[in-house]
Amino acid sequence: MTAAGLTSPEEAVRHVKSGDTVMVGGFGLVGAPLTLIDALADLSDATDLTVVSNNIGEPGRGLGKLLRQGRIRRGISSFFTSNPEAVAAANAGELEATLLPQGTFAEAIRAGGAGIAGFYTPVGAGTLLAEGKEERIIGGVPHVLEEPIRADVALVYAARADSLGNLWYRHTARNFNPLMATAATITIAEAGEIVAVGEIEPESIATPHLYVDHLVARA
C-alpha cells in the first residue's frame, strides 16, 4: 500500500479472523513481534488459526501463549521441538503439525510472496518429509516439489520503521520477517522505533513500504 497506517496493537489484531492463516516472524523469540502476539493472545478471540512460524514460541511465551489457549489448530514450522508444549499438543492430536526443512520453509514463503507457484528442491528427497510430495529426478538428482505458502495476515518485527512503513532490521532479528512481510494479504509490522520518512537510508531498507499495511509501536 502507499502508506502504512499507525495503529494500536488492539486495532491491528482485529484483522486476524477465526480460521485465518497467520505468519509470525522470529527465530525463537528473537525478531518475533511480541507486542502483536501478546495482543492477539490477550485482546482478540480469533481462534482455529493456522500459524506459520519457524517455532511455536516457548512455553507460555510468544506463540506459546496462544498455543496454551488452544487457539492454534495447525502449525507449519521447521522446529516445533523448541516448545515442548507444542510437541505434546501435536502428540495429543490437538495441534496439526506440518514440518518442513528450514530452507524449504523460508523459500516457500519467499515463493508465496513472489508469485511463484512452487519449486523443486533436493532437500528432503527420499526422507519422511517428502512423503506425499511429487518427486522428480532433475540433472540426475532427486528433487521434491514444494508449494508456496501464503497467509491472510503476517505479523513481523523490525527494529526501525519510518512512517511510510519502510522497515530496517537489526542483526539476526531479521530472519523470516522480510519474507513474511511479502507473503500475506495483510502485513502488520511492529517496530522498535518509528522515525520520520527519510531517516532510514534508502539502501538500508530491507522491506519497502509497499508490503506493509499497518504499523504498530513495540510496547
Binding site: F79, V87, L99, L100, G103, T127, L128, T172, N175, L179
Partner: protein, 216 residues
Amino acid sequence: MSGDPDPKAIIASRAARELRPGEIVNLGIGIPNLIPGFLGSATEVFLHTENGLLGVGPRPSEEELDPDLIDAAKRPITALPGASYFDSASSFAMIRGGHVDVAVLGALQVSETGDIANWAIPGKDVLGVGGAMDLVVGAKRVIVTMTSTTPSGDAKVVRGCSFPLTARGVVDVVVTERAVFRVRSGALVLTELLDGASVDDVVSVTEAAFTVELEE
C-alpha cells in the same frame, strides 16, 4: 587407548584440522561448537549461522550481550568485522546453492555409503528438523562429528541407517573419538586412528563394513 581425554575434545580437535583457511563453515550444535577452540590462528575460517549471519565471532562478555544477536542454537554470539546479516531465504540459498564450503554436524547414525540420520528417533517426536537437511544436501563438504557408539553401546557407524534419514550419500568425513573415516566412491574407508586406538578397536565399535587405508 589412553582412555582419559574427553572424547568430545578429541573429536573436535581432529575435526578442526579438516578445515582450511578462508573456508565458509557452518557448525552444528554440540561437538561442532567446540571446534573454534581448536582452530589455530593460522586457520581463519568464516562461520556462517543459518539464522542469518556470516562472520560469527566469539561468545560475548556480559557487556557485549545483545538480544538481537544469536546463533542457530539460540545462544548469544558476537559478529566480527566484515560480518554480514541476511534473511533466512538468502541464508538457505547460500547453503543449497553450494556457497557454504563445509557443514560440521552431529549425527545419530551414518551408514557405510554416507547416508546420515540426525534429526529423529523412531517412536520419539519427529517434530524438529531445522536446517539439518538443507545443510547436508547443500554444503560442499559434510563432516560428521560423533562418538562411535551410543551411551548404551550401539554402533553409530552402521551398514544402513535404521533411524529416519536426513539425506542419502552426502557424508564426506566421519570423525569419532577413535577414528577418521572418509566416504570414497560411496564406500567407507578408515584413514586414521585416534588416541591410540587400533583397527580392532574401531572394528569392535563399528557395524559398517569399511576398508583400511591409513594415512600419515
